[in-house]
Every structure is written in structure tokens, then in C-alpha cells.
Amino acid sequence: MLLLAFDTATPAITVALHDGTHVLAESTTVDARRTGELLAPGITAVLTAAGRKPGELTGVAVGVGPGPFTGLRVGLVTARALGDALGIPIHGVCTLDVVAYQTKIEEPFAVATDARRKEVYWAQYTDRFTRSTDPDVSHPSLIAERLAGLPIAGEGAVLYPEAFPKAIGPRHPSAGALAELTIRRLQSDPDSLLFPEPLYLRRPDAVEPGTRKRVSTG
């Protein structure tokens, strides 16, 4: 097995290569505005570091968000194109689940990531493998009470300490963890892997024009 994993749903552009036993190489850069520039070179970098060729890949794991749309789409279209070009399967995983998997705690918690516009993408977990709510997007103050007392992983806790005082790591997902989680799911519960469809959770901003505006005053 040679699994390529990446996630672009947060400011971290993270890429890893996994052989079924170990993470062979990992590369992470935090720069939300350059996802389109950094992802492809990141993939080449992990392949080169491990001395492997694209043609040896047996699958792609990709974080499907939720996350800001532009960066998220870069990851998903890259996964779909690689899957098409190499004839290999693509496995989607909720990005919040990757962050949850990276926490090392035993008690219930929540994950919150930056959704911009003063909102967070979030979900609750009973343990690091088990999500108990659907991912959602909310203003931190509106969910602070509901999540009161829970440790919060992800950048949301760093950005909104008033709403989420109990911040725990990690801040961003890691592609090495994404690869591990994907392999676990492939072995134990393949149906839990998702199609490479973005979790947008928001509709596009678009307004249908009303009646025509007058251009003249007189």
C-alpha cells in the first residue's frame, strides 16, 4: 500500500505518504492564501523524500472539510484529478474527525476550526474516534453555552478564547494522522469513508436581482 493523504480545509496545507505501516514523509505549511501554490509541490516533496513515484500510489485520502471553500476545493479537485490520472480510489474524511483523532484525551470534547466571518466549523465527540453531532457552522457565542466545560481542539479555541476557554491541541489537522485514520477505517469500517465531496455547510452568497434600479433622477 502507498497512500497519499492531504488536507486543505484549514490554513494548514498538509501532505503525507503512508505505506500501510508507517508515515514515510510529511510536509505541512500554514499559509491559507497559497493553497493553490503549495499543495502540488508538497505532494512532489513527500514522494521525493520517500523515493517513490506517483505511479506507485495505491490510493488518495483527502480531508473534505468543512472549511473555507477556495482552499478546500483545491484539495478536492487535486484528489479527484490524481484519482482519475492514476486510476486509484479516493477516500474522503471529515477534517474535524482528523483533528479529533489527533487529540490524545479520554473524555468527551469538541473540535472547532476557523470558518472566517467570525464563525467556526465544529462538532462534538464522545472520544477521539467517535463524532456525536453532524458538523455545523456557528458563531462562537451561540454555542459557547452548549459546549461549556468541554475541551476544544482546533484553531477555533485559539481564535475565540472567551467562548472556548478550555483549548487543547492540535491547532490544525496533520496529513499523517489523516492517513492513519483512513487506513484504520479501510480496515474496520470502509463505509465510513466519504465521497470526495466538499462539506460546504454554507450556500453561495448570491442575491437574485429585484426590480430594476432607476438610473435617472429627473
Partner: protein, 349 residues
């Protein structure tokens, strides 16, 4: 290797606006031109909604590549190089095409060229009329652009002569079509309505044609307002709007200015060929008037067929093919998309 360079098989991606275009060319021969358009999803908004376009690009990308390959009767393994629009265009939309193209290039281990959309609009005519004459003038007119360019070398030397200072020509068509209640996109609808009308019925203004105006720049915003005012005045008076006459007179005002300035650009730069591209190049009156005026000035007009004038992947593949043949350096995998890419930057490296 020489044979490959003479007629490389190039896969081109275009996602700068609402068309997901994937084209395949071998040398100057068009093999496939697959386009998936999200235009219907934008119609009710009266214009392209960037986020709607970006979402549609993601969904259409791989199916459009597969359609292009099957139309061309080739496989990905046959491809020699990849080209993709790096800019200008809608930022989020450009990124989807660039990311897809980079992924294919990476997987196939082939060179990639991040190219200028406007240069691609020019180069596409090679697929129809053969190699471009050295030093022609190109006029690109669409919903997104209105430019006059001097083109000594489409792979490396494209010089801006003039452009719109406000609305693009195609934008004016869309806005006037809305004023007249014709629908979106406006270009073909106005063209059709104008056929029954009198182009001299109403004297609409010709923007930037005064003695002190920039001779090769355009302005269509005043014209659009003038049409809206004229229609409102009629409506207030309770008169019926002569749709065909308004459409024909508006269209004549646009086309008159475009062709006048295009011929002037040819004369000033000593070019004996005028190339017209972009969606508005499909306008029937523009084609007729350009031919008429160019003939008088001893200039030859080249206009690709309508489906090569609008945004498509074949134009990007055509430019990619020319870049390979001229031995130009490919882009690095980390090249940026640039929504406001200058026309002088033909390839982003």
C-alpha cells in the same frame, strides 16, 4: 524528440469564468473541445456568481477531461504537455483549474504551462486559420474583456494598446438586455432582437470618441446608462418600447466604436491583420462591420468560429502547443493563479 516538438499533444484547461473547458490539440490541429457551462445556474442572478461558478468547476472537472479524451480518441498516457489558464479571471474559479492541471501534470510527469487567458484567446485562431501573422492586432471583446493588443509574438510579446476604462463590451450587452427584459446572457439575445430593428433609429453616444479622449481605450458605461434613461423616459410617458430599434441602435453604437478603434490600432501599429476574439466576436453585426471597414483600409480580418471565440480549453491547449514548439520554459508546479494577470505576462513561472 523533434517530431514531438513539431506537433505536441497538449491538454488545456480553462476555468477563468463560468465555463469548465478542457481541450486537446496536436500541433495546430484541434482534437477535442469539451466545455461544461454553469451559465444556467447564473441566469436568475443576471450575472456570473463566482462561488456558484467555482462549485460547478469542481463537479465538472474530471468528467470534462474524460469527455475530451474520448472525443480526441487519446489517453492521458499520450499527452506531451499540459496548459492551464493562470489568469486573469475569477480568483476562486482559476484555482480549481490550476489545481486540477497541476495534479494531472504531477501524476503524468509532464511539463505544465500556466498561461494568460488573453493570449490563449488570440492563439486559438491558429487552430482555424493557421500560424498567426507576425505583428497582428488583436481585439478581445467579451463579458470580461475589451482590449486592443499588438501581438509581435503570442508566446512572449503581447503589448496592450487600449482597454475599457469601465464596463467590458459584453457586460454592456448583458446590462442592456436586462433593461429590455430580454434575459441573460445578453449578447446573442440583443443580436437577435437587433435584426428586426433600425440601427439608426436612436442616436446613442459613442464613448471616448472625442478629440481629447484616449484614442484606443473604450468606455461602455455611459452608453448603458443612456439606453436605460431612454427606455425609462418612454415608459414614464406610457409609450411602447420599440425593442428591436433600441437593440439595433445600442448594438450599432458598440460595434461602431469597436471597429473604428480596431482599425485605428492596426494603422497606428502598421499591422495588416486584425484578429477578433472573445464572446462578442460572435456578434453578427460586429463581424460584418469589421470586414467592411477593414477591407477599405486594406486589412485582413481573422475571426475564429463562435465556439472557439467564447472561453474554452482548446484555446489554452493551442497556446500550450505553441509554447512547446517554440521551446519555451514550462512553469514550476508552485506557479500562482493571478486574477488580474497582466497581458504582457504570457506564461507564469
Amino acid at each position: 524528440m523533434t517530431a514531438l516538438k513539431d506537433s505536441p499533444l497538449v491538454l488545456g484547461f480553462e476555468t477563468s469564468c463560468d465555463e469548465t473547458g478542457v481541450g486537446i490539440v496536436r500541433g495546430n490541429t484541434l482534437l477535442a473541445d469539451a466545455v461544461a457551462s454553469s451559465v444556467e445556474e447564473h441566469a436568475r442572478f443576471g450575472g456570473v456568481v463566482p462561488e456558484v461558478a467555482s462549485r460547478a468547476h469542481l463537479e465538472a472537472m474530471v468528467p470534462t477531461v474524460q469527455r475530451a479524451l474520448s472525443d480526441a480518441g487519446v489517453t492521458l498516457a499520450d499527452i506531451d504537455a499540459i496548459a492551464v489558464t493562470a489568469g486573469p479571471g475569477l480568483a476562486g474559479a482559476l484555482l480549481v483549474g490550476a489545481a486540477a492541471a497541476k495534479a494531472y501534470a504531477l501524476a503524468l510527469d509532464k511539463p505544465i504551462y500556466g498561461v494568460n487567458h488573453l493570449a490563449a484567446h488570440i492563439c486559438v485562431d491558429q487552430l482555424e486559420h493557421g500560424p498567426l501573422p507576425e505583428g497582428c492586432v488583436a481585439m478581445l471583446v467579451s463579458g470580461g474583456h475589451s482590449s486592443l493588443l499588438f501581438v509581435p509574438d503570442v508566446t512572449g510579446d503581447v503589448q496592450p494598446l487600449g482597454q475599457t476604462i469601465d464596463d467590458a463590451a459584453g457586460e454592456a450587452f448583458d446590462k442592456v438586455a436586462r433593461v429590455l427584459g430580454l434575459g441573460f446572457p445578453g449578447g446573442p439575445l440583443i443580436d437577435k432582437a437587433a435584426r428586426e430593428g433600425d440601427p439608426e433609429a436612436i442616436a446613442f453616444p459613442r464613448g471616448l470618441t472625442g478629440p481629447r479622449d484616449a484614442p484606443l481605450d473604450f468606455s461602455f458605461s455611459g452608453l448603458k446608462t443612456a439606453v436605460a434613461r431612454w427606455v425609462e423616459r418612454r415608459e414614464r410617458a406610457g409609450d411602447k418600447i420599440p425593442l428591436a430599434d433600441v437593440a439595433a441602435s445600442f448594438q450599432e453604437a458598440v460595434v461602431d466604436v469597436l471597429t473604428r478603434k480596431a482599425i485605428l490600432a492596426c494603422k497606428e501599429s502598421g499591422a495588416d491583420h486584425l484578429l477578433i476574439g472573445g464572446g462578442v466576436a460572435a456578434n453578427s453585426r460586429l463581424r460584418v462591420l469589421a470586414e467592411e471597414r477593414a477591407a477599405k483600409a486594406g486589412i485582413r480580418v481573422r475571426v475564429p468560429r463562435p465556439n472557439l471565440c467564447t472561453d474554452n480549453g482548446a484555446m489554452v491547449a493551442a497556446l500550450g502547443s505553441e509554447l512547446v514548439r517554440r521551446g519555451r520554459t514550462p512553469s514550476h508546479l508552485d506557479f500562482p493563479s493571478d486574477s488580474s494577470q497582466a497581458v504582457v505576462d504570457v506564461v507564469v513561472r
